[in-house]
Symmetry: D2
Subunit: 406 residues, 4 copies
């Protein structure tokens, strides 16, 4: 057992940390207030990407700080899940960083799907420009009219018709769909309703310009729209794509979804923990700088105990996430079900608790947008629902546990 | 000991409940989506009050459903704090209701101050139009540059100069200041810096049109601006008002603040509990109507236990708030310090927990504005800071407890 | 709504409080160490009741401080459930007090059953000596071989045979059965297995001297046996009693059990809250008297916040219990299901939390028997299981809540 | 980063696990009921060690399953702290196991002290027989009359007098002092009252037979005495030992205490986690085997969610403890302050929570001694106080955290 990062991993951590501090943070300080304000409403069809973001991307790419997430020596950085994890944590401290290093959801998951399961043609057409950071993508899974915590509830359909697949249904929480750079979506729907429960669904590539793809509205998360990416409600009305847009094969949607989720949860959780570290730092700095009743706030009442509990919680969550990553790399995601579900419960809740405590120290400033805390809170709260709500993951862990005594 | 409401109180509860359901809720259903969307950004100087709101106010006033909060038989409804409490709970279920019955913060507290401590001239000029619902008001207390949890940190100044008082300082979280109907503010600042610690501050009436009163910006709460009332950051630069605008007398600001806070906390807490009841109702209805893994969501995992815990928490918080109200009425706010601080901790936390659980049942819809849950969450989270953060109230309770054994 | 106790109730509270402080506490200080030590093991058949206890009983009885629990003007004190509740709280501060005032479980419940449902002959034979404090009693309900949280699991049988009832089965947690004064038990078992689910059981009076009643062992609770009362495992092997020992009628066991449980839970919960107040007092006194790092322990870290939270928790639990009592008196236990289950969850947990915090302040002394904290902890922990575990009560509350929206 | 145990470590884990299951558990099943019952009271001077225990020790020793804790290739097993940790977890599942492998507190800590700081003569006289398992030992630190959470409160004295050291003071919670095999104690007291705050104390070896060493009584923990080891209150009245019994040198007591505590906390925490795993196993097995309302208990209400949360908590605590062990080995205990304090808070609380949940599933049996749960609970609860209460450790973590921003 060894808790040291590999030398290469440690070097990348240092480079990423330095790039964020020196190159990204100044831009973020400049852009974020306008992004948060603009993100709070208005006409999403006018959303723009600031050119400074593309400049930073080019700079990071030139330095080789790019596509860390992909386990491919040529197309990506060739890191293991475990090696990528601390980089994701570093990126989680910043709003912009994941995108700058071409490591932001949902693109990462979509690229992994194409890399693992895409045909050569699909890779050429969509994976390459995504890996180059030229386009962005969206994943159409969650539906507004059913409880999506049970994926078998899905109602959208994919029907063969001649050389085409005809797609119908309503999706929402399609993140990134508002981005002017978003060109391609992966759509999941029922293609084989008569098959076994987990073989009824397929995934299909749908270019955003396909007729019948209608973005009905953008959805706010705690009143913010996360412009310019956004979270859309998208309706599909007799949308036609060629059969070759099917990924892997009809009925293999759940198989693909499983492959997509393991590493993706590591990414989400490590980013959440990076944000939690940032939140703790903010809490301490503010608590040290403001005085009440003759003492810095952080020294009053139970604040130091709360601080200690949050430190303990973050450290435990990080170790569990790293362990889950190690299991994915060494025994596979299927043998790491408990750990993957566990971190999915733990990390977002840790972040939510840290942010709640930091807000409490900040007072009114904490609920405004003068700090990134509200944005972090929205991230945490949404993450407790995304990719399966806490309760579903607890249920899965319990099932594994009970099975040990069968 | 008797837990029945008085017959008059019960009758008013029934009337208020019916008026909310029959008259206010339909208007709210129509106006709220636009209010929430509009409230998320844009130019606050263009905020408008929908005429339907003034129509509802006139209707409620005509029915005598008006000014319940004021313990004055002629000017108000003549109810005790305890009798008003359940009416505040009913109003808390609705976003618009408090205003419709002329029972919304910060007007209620400001009217109480004027009623208790105002001169005859001050009452004529400002209390009467407030009681009639013709104008609205604001309270200038919290400051951006100091920890306001310790009110003695206050830096704003009130200096005598001939027949005038000259006011300088920065205030924020001045709720209601964005409302086009807002005409008058009560400003608290340091007037007697050499006096004893709690005799240094005064409260002064400042008409919003006074030169030097500058609204710098509106502050979002979890990205929403609560239009058209809003929460402002307001700077006072050599603002001059006549000496007769002083309330009660120089150095008596804390005395007034204390008188203002006791009943105000009852109002806040009962409204929070009304919102909590609404949140629980939403949680149950959604949990009954959506199905996953073959069962309504509410029957899955620990959801029923959570539901029970929330029911217990609400019922306990309500009884404690009613008891605090009874103590205020019967032995005075000073003898009810523990209870007033206790409910100020409990009720907002109960609301936050209910809303968090309801969001979890709603899934994605819960973090959007398709439900009032996000608005309720912002209310709860801000209330844990307003009027003293949780920690200050816990500290006060501990002091009282320790004093019992001295 | 009025939170004042009735004058008579207040007078009794004062008398009981004074009697406990002046008469019982000195005896308790003398007897308790030996009781706790002796209770930890040894031969239960040699358990004795100290004559000082009978002397105190006689004294209390002579002063009319007796049988407060019984709503009967002649046989008892004629107090309502609500009026009795604060007396139970006072008694809960002391280990011996409930017995001294003839208000200790399980006698109170058994006396209520006989008073409400017993025949004249049953009352003469058993109720009268119990009311006089001459004998004690036991309730045979819980069984070792089934999950007793579901009362319909019960396996013990009651079979008619000529003029007799023949009883078989195993019971445990039969509290009080080790007391040398214990003469009578109420036994619940299946008498009508073919009847509807809640009409299969009966309750029967079984004198302790009846052949076939075998006390197999006494059960420790956190290693203590609560001598001289004790909690027994008792086996019934072809135990014969005359048919007239049936209470109310065959198949009416659940009906009786329901009648027994409502007020009994009020008693348990108020005693638990009295113990919680005592625990809080101990915590504060110790926290004030010991110094570490230059300050009294109670002023260190989060201790004052914890203290405040416990004060809030106790006050809320008390109000909810009083409200439940008021509902039992005014609308009946069936309409107070939510409240009765709610306090059954809340009060023991509050006590457990208070005791845990007090132990933490006491350090090593807290886990020894140098304080009553360990005994209070055992009381709290057992009470979370007795009369239905927390989870069953939460389930019941949820059912009531869901039924509101059917 | 690598989460695999070393091959040697894994082999030892397997051997220890097998030995516990095959050799220790049958003996434990036979001895434990009598130990628990006997431990509940009676005359401690008659406590005996069952010969089966010495037989098992001899057997383990012969197999080389012995002294795992000592980082010495010759005297001990030569394992690192990290390698020993999983062995401690295995031992924690059993009441007897730590002693059988000569790895039980307080002997392990005392042996470490002698190994690191003892003179050659001290090693010959006391370390060797301890390593051989021939004698046992005790550590005299905590005092009854002061808050021992602040070690500088210590009042016991060590005074030079000619060739002797004269010792006076009261100690309690001296674990193991009741064991008939206990021959030697390490005593900490004030020797240099004029020195700097952390240089005033020394540690001295005191044979149990030295005149003036008086065992006043054994202290129960939740009513049990942990016979035959016991926890004593011991008074020292002019106890004389030769100067050569001083360890390391006058004034170096805190230095020794620090060296003793780091690895000791790893041991305690891993044993606690082993016990937690055992508790979880018991909870699941009972929850599967008992039925209520038509389902196994474990499937009712929120039980599966609780189970999942406990699994998550145990796994996180284990990883954090292993990480702390790794830091001790690689960067030293001083650089692992946060982690050592963190696990000291986390692990006992996890065990307490697991046991509480398991008791709730067991019902009445859970609070009796029909299961080891009560014993585990006492272990957890005492461990939250021993070696510094939770609050002190949280305070230390906060201090380290705040220092990062100085």
């Amino acid at each position: 057992m060894d808790f040291n990062h590999s030398p290469r991993c440690q070097e990348l951590i240092d480079q990423v940390r330095a790039f964020i501090r020196e190159r990204i943070e100044p831009v973020e300080a400049e852009l974020l207030p306008a992004m948060l304000a603009g993100s709070a409403g208005g006409d999403w069809t006018k959303w723009q990407v600031d050119p400074k973001i593309e400049e930073l991307k080019a700079e990071a790419k030139a330095l080789g700080l790019w596509n860390f997430f992909l386990h491919d020596d040529e197309r990506g950085a060739g890191l293991s899940t475990l090696e990528y994890a601390p980089l994701a944590e570093e990126m989680g401290r910043s709003h912009l960083a994941p995108q700058i290093f071409n490591c932001s959801a949902p693109d990462t998951g979509n690229m992994e799907v194409l890399w693992k399961y895409g045909s050569e043609e699909q890779k050429q057409q969509w994976l390459e420009p995504l890996l180059e950071g030229k386009i962005r993508s969206v994943f159409f899974m969650t539906e507004p009219d059913v409880a999506s915590s049970d994926a078998t509830n899905m109602e959208a359909t994919i029907v063969e018709d001649g050389d085409d697949l005809v797609i119908n249904g309503k999706k929402w929480w399609s993140s990134g769909v508002g981005d002017p750079r978003c060109e391609i979506g992966i759509f999941m729907g029922v293609s084989n309703p008569e098959a076994a429960r987990h073989s009824q669904h397929s995934m299909v590539l749908v270019p955003m310009t396909t007729p019948g793809v209608v973005i009905k509205r953008m959805l706010p998360v705690f009143n913010t729209f996360d412009a310019p990416e956004g979270h859309g409600e998208v309706w599909f009305e007799n949308v036609r794509v060629p059969k070759k847009n099917m990924i892997l094969g009809a009925g293999r949607g759940f198989e693909i979804a499983q492959g997509r989720l393991g590493p993706g949860r590591i990414h989400h959780c490590m980013r959440a923990l990076g944000a939690a570290e940032k939140g703790l730092e903010l809490m301490i700095k503010r608590g040290n700088s403001r005085v009440a009743f003759g003492k810095p706030l952080i020294k009053l009442g139970g604040n130091q105990e709360r601080l200690a509990d949050l430190r303990i919680a973050i450290d435990q969550a990080r170790l569990l996430t790293l362990y889950a990553a190690w299991k994915i790399d060494n025994v596979g995601a299927l043998s790491a079900l408990t750990e993957i579900s566990a971190i999915k419960v733990v990390a977002p809740n840790v972040l939510q608790n840290v942010v709640d405590a930091a807000i409490q120290i900040y007072g009114g400033a904490g609920v405004s947008n003068d700090t990134p805390l509200v944005a972090m809170f929205a991230m945490a709260r949404a993450l407790r629902l995304a990719d399966g709500p806490d309760e579903v993951h607890r249920g899965l862990i319990a099932r594994v546990e009970l099975a040990k005594y069968k």
